[in-house]
């Protein structure tokens, strides 16, 4: 399991952890029932605060990605990933709709908007 904390990232540390674990679950790198490191162990290994680590786990638990069994630790929850994906696709659609409206307001054509999107995608790849 790979988690990279970027200290100069403006994204809060707990979000960085939660998002990376979420991505591993969604991509199938982590499967339902897999044990996650304990909060203390993860905090120690990443050299970050236990409270922040707990916040990341709490968020994942609230969203149904993790379940914590007292005395045993945290596990990847049995979750219908199709539903999660479905939800994310709906979110993406909503964002794209917003982008379309903004593009219209700025007088950008479809081609110009797509060019901009391509630039953003390529930047991410580098």
């Amino acid at each position: 399991m790979e988690i990279i904390i970027r200290n100069f990232d403006n994204q809060p540390i707990y979000e960085q952890i939660a998002n990376q674990i979420k991505a591993m679950i969604l991509s199938g790198q982590l499967s339902p029932g897999d044990a996650l490191p304990s909060i203390r162990a993860l905090a120690r290994d990443l050299k970050i605060s236990v409270i922040t680590t707990k916040r990341a786990y709490d968020e994942l638990e609230a969203e149904g990605f993790l379940s914590t069994v007292a005395g045993k630790g945290s596990f990847v929850a049995e979750k219908d990933l199709r539903l999660v994906r479905e939800g994310q696709l709906r979110q993406l659609e909503a964002h794209l709709e917003q982008a379309r409206a903004l593009a219209a307001r700025c007088g950008l054509s479809l081609q110009e908007t797509l060019d901009m999107a391509r630039l953003i995608f390529e930047e991410e790849l580098q």
Partner: protein
């Protein structure tokens, strides 16, 4: 349970006073106590160890009131490193170990010997010939070798070089990775505390100015750098501290929640936040 609890503590001596200090360190966490020289860090720690008596207020350590008779037993569970040396001058590390073995019921001689090796402390050198760094290392070795549940460290990394300091921070991290182990550490090396702590408590002229989860503190603020014109566009409630630079530049500590989302802000350090907050107070 809270490892440390201070509630409305007051202590005055001469022209200095601790005023209405309330602070808790939950079990299992590390709290960094920061503040300039004379802010009251060492006084707070001495009050907690009952080396000083508070004028008013309540203090408890590991759930026991410092005035209670049972507090003596609590000291077995607390590893303390103070900023001044306190071993007899003519003793060497081996003799210190022998004394500690009769002081602490859970003294671990093998662990102590391990720390002496790890810190490369000579066994036969008398304490009066110790350097500042060696003194701190010996004090830390003693504090960690009697199976404490709480470490109380006053400037424990002062006088040590970066590499040794990092090694010691690593020991402290190992310590709190055990369940229910907690640390209160004071330091004026803010970067050390930023790396280590869960909570930051900032004392200024005897008063607690900030007491907060470290990462939330870092998330709340951003650093703005720009022109006076760009700065003027910020809402007043977004600005927590400001510094006008030469050549028209402005640097400011900005509350992210009140700033426009598109505004590009740098991530501050604890030091940035503290400096701006103190300066802001002086200007007010």
């Amino acid at each position: 349970m809270n490892a440390i609890e201070l509630s409305h503590v007051n202590k005055a001596f001469g022209d200095f006073s601790i005023q209405d200090l309330s602070l808790t360190v939950p079990e299992g966490t590390i709290c960094g106590l920061i503040g300039e020289n004379g802010a009251g860090k060492s006084t707070t720690i001495r009050l907690l160890m009952h080396a000083l008596r508070a004028d008013s207020g309540n203090l408890s350590v590991l759930g026991i009131d410092v005035n209670a008779p049972e507090f003596l037993a609590v000291k077995q569970d607390v590893g303390v490193v103070l900023d001044e040396a306190y071993f007899p001058e003519v003793m060497d590390a081996v003799q210190v170990g022998k004394i500690m073995a009769s002081t602490y019921t859970r003294w671990d001689a093998a662990q102590y010997a391990g720390f002496l090796d790890r810190f490369q402390l000579p066994r036969k050198k008398q304490f009066k010939d110790y350097s500042r760094g060696m003194t701190m290392k010996l004090a830390i070795a003693v504090a960690l070798s009697h199976a404490p549940r709480l470490l109380v460290l006053d400037e424990a990394t002062a006088g040590l070089d970066t590499i040794v300091r990092n090694e010691i921070l690593e020991l402290f991290r190992d310590f709190v990775s055990q369940p229910n182990h907690s640390i209160l550490i004071s330091s004026h090396i803010l970067s050390d505390l930023e790396k280590l702590c869960d909570y930051i408590a900032f004392l200024h002229q005897g008063k607690l100015v900030v007491s907060e989860e470290k990462d939330r503190l870092l998330e709340r603020y951003g650093l703005f750098s720009g022109t006076a014109e760009q700065f003027a566009a910020l809402r007043a409630e977004a600005v927590a501290g400001v510094e006008h630079l030469a050549y028209g530049g402005v640097r400011a500590l900005v509350r992210r929640a009140a700033a426009p989302a598109a505004l590009s802000l740098e991530k501050p350090t604890i030091e940035d936040i503290i400096l701006f907050l103190v300066k802001g107070e002086k200007a007010a």
